[in-house]
């Protein structure tokens, strides 16, 4: 008689108890599947925000600018950015390039000083660069290339007290370290996914930004997205290009080094895995409980099998197999259910705006859980492994029973 068959039949012996065990494991696996889907969504979100708005997948910037970044060292630029952009786009590893001119500025409203950060972008190129540039527009439209128009983050607009059709004047420091004031016409209101950007950012055409900042043909930085290549490959390719044909003195930085959200993710990853361990242990305790009760109830049976000459290892394996089957059923059910719940959420998302209200993090207010098959499969095995490990200890007890004692019960 195969152990596996006996184990399977024994599971159906006490259906309610088996169901309880399976349910406990399933609940844990379900929760963790959802949790990791959420984490994956956060990871994707951070990546999306970083690549589109903050750092690109790889960023080219003047090394001296990076060094004195805090000082807002606008005098350190990426020279001749247009030709550099063309050269980079020609590389097979590069998909799109978004040049940027950053304008750290301040606006005045009555007695109020309102800080703002202008981002000069090549609007035409940016439509290709961004995943969905039009999508951020809530009212009005994007500025026309070369115009004095601008689109404001909606919170910035509110703080400035302006609407479409108004003009705003900003004060800034130029590349040559002089002060300059410039005025833009508000043609659109934007809702950036990241609240922080909403509060402080406005977008304008790069040509005008270059003019206001006296940049000439230089830019503050180039954001680069790769053509489906790994970040390290992209970094190497771009670095090789600039090393070979200039400009000199550029830093080519991968986003993982720059993005604060990325560092947070690393930590979150570890923390979530520990939480997962707790959850699985929890679910497994019911299996442990069940196995213990099962062994207790079948003591005489164990004694009989021992009397018939069943070896210790075989006895342990019998109960261990039972527990493993329960673990498999529970983990599978949990992971499948969790995936089923996460699937629609991938499209509708979860609204975290209430939580993000007062907290200042560079996460979007809408988070979309992302199902990742690799991580789902890993969750299944993680859950199963914990269940199996946990049930091993009570299973061992089956073998330590003395046949004489067992038979007497």
């Amino acid at each position: 008689m195969k152990l596996a068959t006996i184990a399977l039949r024994n599971i159906f012996r006490n259906k309610r108890r088996s169901l309880l065990s399976v349910t406990a494991v399933a609940v844990a696996a379900l929760a963790i599947t959802l949790l990791f889907a959420l984490l994956e969504g956060i990871r994707e979100d951070i990546r999306h925000n970083a690549w589109n708005y903050e750092t690109g997948q790889v960023r080219v910037r003047n090394a001296e600018y990076d060094r004195y970044e805090y000082l807002n060292p606008v005098q350190y630029v990426v020279p001749e950015y247009r030709t550099l952009t063309e050269r980079l786009v020609a590389l097979p590893e590069v998909s799109v390039v978004g040049p940027r001119i950053t304008i750290a500025s301040v606006s005045f409203r009555g007695e109020r000083q309102i800080s703002a950060r202008g981002i000069g972008m090549d609007i035409t190129a940016e439509r290709r660069y961004q995943d969905d540039l039009e999508g951020i527009v809530v009212k009005g439209r994007l500025p026309e290339p070369g115009s004095t128009e601008a689109i404001l983050g909606n919170r910035l607009a509110r703080e400035l007290g302006v609407q479409i059709g108004d003009s705003v004047t900003f004060l800034t420091q130029t590349r040559v370290r002089t002060s300059n004031a410039f005025t833009v016409d508000v043609v659109g209101i934007a809702a950036f996914p990241v609240a922080q950007l909403d509060r402080s950012t406005f977008l304008l055409p790069i040509e005008r930004a270059a003019h206001y900042m006296r940049m000439g043909d230089a830019a503050t930085e180039l954001l680069i997205k790769g053509a489906g290549v790994r970040t390290e490959t992209l970094v190497d390719a771009v670095a090789a290009e600039t090393a070979e044909r200039g400009p000199e003195g550029m830093n080519v930085t991968p986003w993982s080094e720059v993005s604060g959200g990325y560092a947070y993710l690393q930590v979150a990853n570890v923390v979530y895995r520990i939480i997962a361990l707790f959850f699985f242990l929890l679910g497994s305790t019911v299996i442990v409980n069940t196995t213990m009760m099962t062994i207790h109830e079948r003591t005489r049976e164990i004694g009989t099998l021992a009397a018939m000459g069943m070896r210790r290892g075989e006895l342990i394996r019998l109960f261990f197999t039972e527990a493993t089957y329960l673990g498999i059923a529970g983990s599978l059910a949990g992971v499948l259910l969790g995936s089923a719940i996460a699937l629609p959420l991938q499209h509708t998302g979860i609204d975290f705006s209430a939580q993000m209200e007062l907290v200042d993090m560079d996460l979007s207010t809408m988070l979309y859980p992302a199902l990742n098959w690799r991580s789902t499969v890993l969750t299944f095995f993680y859950s199963l492994a914990v269940a199996m490990l946990a049930s091993f200890i009570p299973a061992r007890r089956a073998a330590t029973l003395q046949p004489v004692e067992a038979l007497r019960s």
């Binding site: 008689m1 195969k2 006996i6 039949r9 024994n10 012996r13 005489r300 049976e301 004694g303 009989t304 099998l305 021992a306 009397a307 018939m308 000459g309 069943m310 070896r311 210790r312 046949p403 004489v404 038979l407």
Partner: protein, 231 residues
Amino acid sequence: MINVTDIHKEYIDGETSVRALRGVSLHIAKGEFLSIAGPSGSGKTTLLNVIGCIDTADSGGLSIDGDRINGAHGVSSRALIEIRRAKIGFVFQSFNLIPVLTAYENVAMALSLLGLAESEIRERTTKILTEVGLAGMEDRRPAKLSGGQQQRVAVARALVKDPLIVLADEPTANLDSETGEAILKLMKSINQRIGTTFVFSTHDQMVMDYADRLCRLHDGLIESDEVRRSA
């Protein structure tokens, strides 16, 4: 074939220690149909357990078919398991069948443990089930069998592996007298036809009457040991 030499066995029951066997010596030849009788606490179950290698004596010797089991150093429980697997069959008072297995599977289990080929298992199992009179009941689970039928399955399970000895601890205690007698008749007939050695532990007079030889135990020692012709 089985030699028990001056076996002592003491065990702890709760707070007190009980000297179950105080120097029992016994020789059992092949093919015997032997009954060990005595009041409760006389040590007959313990003696059976020692002979059946479910328990080890504290001192004294046991040899089965020439192999020394209990020596001065005792023997590992792993070795005992192997002996039980191949050479010893048990029949219990409360049948002790595996509830999730059918009659056939319960019997076949004993052979699976020996790692025999599927065809041989099938042949021997069906044969022994017919011998004990359960042809046609192979696919029933113990819950669907009467007490007598279950005990027949147990007997079949004990016999299917062609053991050196079958040990039965009060096999008729949970059966009414008619069924009990039928079981006894079955075991006696197998003993006479095939020559399997049977050792019973009992205080049922009917069992004693069927035995060829009767050992009486009292307070851990053999009181009498007489060979008799059965009914």
